[in-house]
């Protein structure tokens, strides 16, 4: 039992190492296209015909190795979103942050995006968006600074 007169000792402990993780050949191609060419690429399954963004080396449904890259315009339709109102150290921008899932034209899946150039209360599911790339790009999903409303 803790003696009520004595304040319990509390230790501070960090636990997370820094990790160096390869994104693999498929992830590399996807991120390099964004970094060097401002292009968002999908990958098509030769078995079920689905186009995945972000891409995987193997179809999650068929487990077939996928190799047919598909260049997408980057424009797409918002399938859902939220407005994050709280601040956390891992967030890349200051809140409020509008996070969305955008199904790009020609893709069967949605990609995460931060929405910008639009007020939170003006965002609606079904709206059209297009990517705005950063000037300085490093090979990361954050090279897409945000998605803005488009036609």
């Amino acid at each position: 039992m803790t003696d009520k007169a004595v304040k319990p000792v509390v230790i501070e402990a960090d636990s997370i190492s820094t990790f160096q993780v390869t994104v693999g050949a498929t992830g590399t191609k996807f991120l390099v296209e964004i970094r060097d060419n401002k292009r968002i690429m999908g990958i098509k399954c030769s078995s079920c015909g689905k186009v995945y963004v972000p891409p995987r080396s193997h179809c999650p449904t068929c487990c077939v190795k996928m190799s047919e890259w598909v260049e997408l315009s980057g424009k797409g339709t918002l399938t859902t979103y939220t407005v994050v109102r709280y601040k956390e150290p891992y967030q890349p921008k200051e809140p409020p942050i509008i996070y969305g899932v955008i199904q790009l034209d020609g893709a069967d899946t949605g990609i995460y995006g931060i929405l910008g150039e639009v007020e939170p209360d003006k965002v609606k599911i079904g709206m059209r968006f297009e990517p705005v790339f950063k000037d300085e790009r490093e090979g990361s999903l954050l090279d897409i600074d945000h998605f803005r409303p488009s036609s």
Binding site: P8, Y81, E88, Y112, L142
Partner: protein
């Protein structure tokens, strides 16, 4: 193979903030409680508890490596001791499988979490994939916000219907002496509370941080009958994982829960869950989830979760009370959550649920969930 698995004892801590108590003290408390109820000890000759299955999460409880603490703390080291890094309902299922396989006869299952030692959001940010989801700064609250938005949009579920879940569960929780957040909140109070991740308001989210533990003892049929005169039988179990990439799923449809529920119902021989079950304890990490999970469990049709709460079907006194205990919205730690749903069902089926007792309950369903926007589900059906 064993015939049936019975739950012969359950123990729960109070669910509060245990900042002055080391996790091991909490573990000793619940373990001694269930062992005392049965008189069982840890034995390796088949006359006691054969193995332990422990559910926790590595960063809740301490700075990593939290699973090291259980066995030595309770006098169960140098023995079979399995660890489950996901919701506690899965640990119950794995413990039951140890018995159904004939490998063990008696299994002690424990779930524990201390949300108060760290930032829940920071840990859950690690629950997203490290290339895309984490990089962009998503966490489970943001994922839930996107799921709630999609669900409300696709099926016309209203903020008022979600708020009614909070009111129902916080009212039910007044009859549960183990939870801290039961109150007389109104729909208006919920809808006026601070927005956290649209459309989710702070009163629609499980309170954080909450600490606590649950333990239970499972036994094969013949031993269960000898250990207690009120065994509760596991009749069905099902679990299913969806893709972690939120954009690969339609978040308004919980397909993995549908699969998990169907697996459990098939095993239990349940054809019409809404009619055959007397109560359900469902993991409502957020208010909208009780409605969406009720659809996935087949307690109502797709998109009809809102009608379910409007009609009062799931209230105490309704045809199928959901979360008589008050649910997670009254403050239960994650991971412990699903196992605590099982424990509450056990108390109900034993007729020991006090003021929250569902009269004449004979069958019940417990549901656990983990991962962003309900990626993985575990469904357990029980009968007395």
């Amino acid at each position: 193979m064993a015939d049936r698995v019975g739950i012969v004892a359950v123990a729960q801590t109070k669910f509060d903030q245990k900042r002055e108590e080391h996790l091991t003290e909490t573990l000793v408390h619940v373990t001694k409680d269930v062992m005392g109820q049965t008189g069982l000890e840890f034995k390796d000759d088949g006359t006691g508890i054969d193995s332990t299955v422990v559910a926790s999460q590595d960063y809740f409880g301490g700075p990593g490596g939290i699973h090291m603490h259980y066995a030595y703390t309770v006098g169960a080291y140098r023995r079979p001791d399995e660890r489950v890094e996901e919701d506690g309902a899965f640990a119950v299922a794995y413990g039951a499988m140890q018995i159904l396989s004939g490998h063990h006869d008696v299994v002690l299952v424990v779930g524990h979490i201390k949300e108060s030692v760290c930032s829940k959001n920071q840990v859950e940010n690690l629950g997203l994939d490290h290339i895309y989801g984490r990089k962009i700064g998503l966490d489970f609250v943001a994922a839930a916000g996107m799921q709630a938005m999609r669900y409300q949009h696709k099926y016309g579920i209203t903020p008022e219907q979600c708020a009614k879940v909070v009111v129902k569960n916080r009212t039910n929780g007044k009859n549960n002496p183990l939870v801290m957040y039961a109150n007389g909140i109104t729909v208006e109070d919920v809808l006026k509370s601070e927005m956290v991740a649209d459309p989710i308001r702070v009163q629609e989210a499980k309170p954080v941080p909450v600490d606590g533990a649950v333990a239970m003892i499972l036994a094969c049929e013949d031993k269960a009958k000898k250990l207690t005169n009120k065994p509760v039988w596991i009749t069905g179990m099902g679990m299913c994982y969806d893709h972690h990439e939120l954009g690969y799923r339609d978040l308004a449809d919980c397909d993995s829960l549908v699969s998990a529920a169907q697996m459990a119902y098939k095993m239990a021989g349940i054809k019409e869950p809404a009619k055959e079950l007397n109560l359900a304890e469902v993991s409502d990490h957020y208010a909208y989830q009780e409605l969406l999970w009720s659809e996935g469990l087949g307690l109502c049709g797709k998109g009809e979760g809102g009608k379910l709460i409007d009609k009062g079907t799931t209230s105490m006194g309704g045809e199928l009370p959901v979360n008589p205990s008050g649910g997670l919205l009254c403050g239960v730690p994650l991971i412990v959550a699903g196992m605590q749903r099982v424990a509450e069902c056990v108390l109900q089926l034993r007729g020991e649920a006090g003021g929250r007792q569902v009269s004449g309950a004979k069958t019940a369903l417990a549901h656990g969930v983990e991962g962003p926007a309900g990626q993985l589900h575990c469904v357990i059906t029980l009968e007395k």
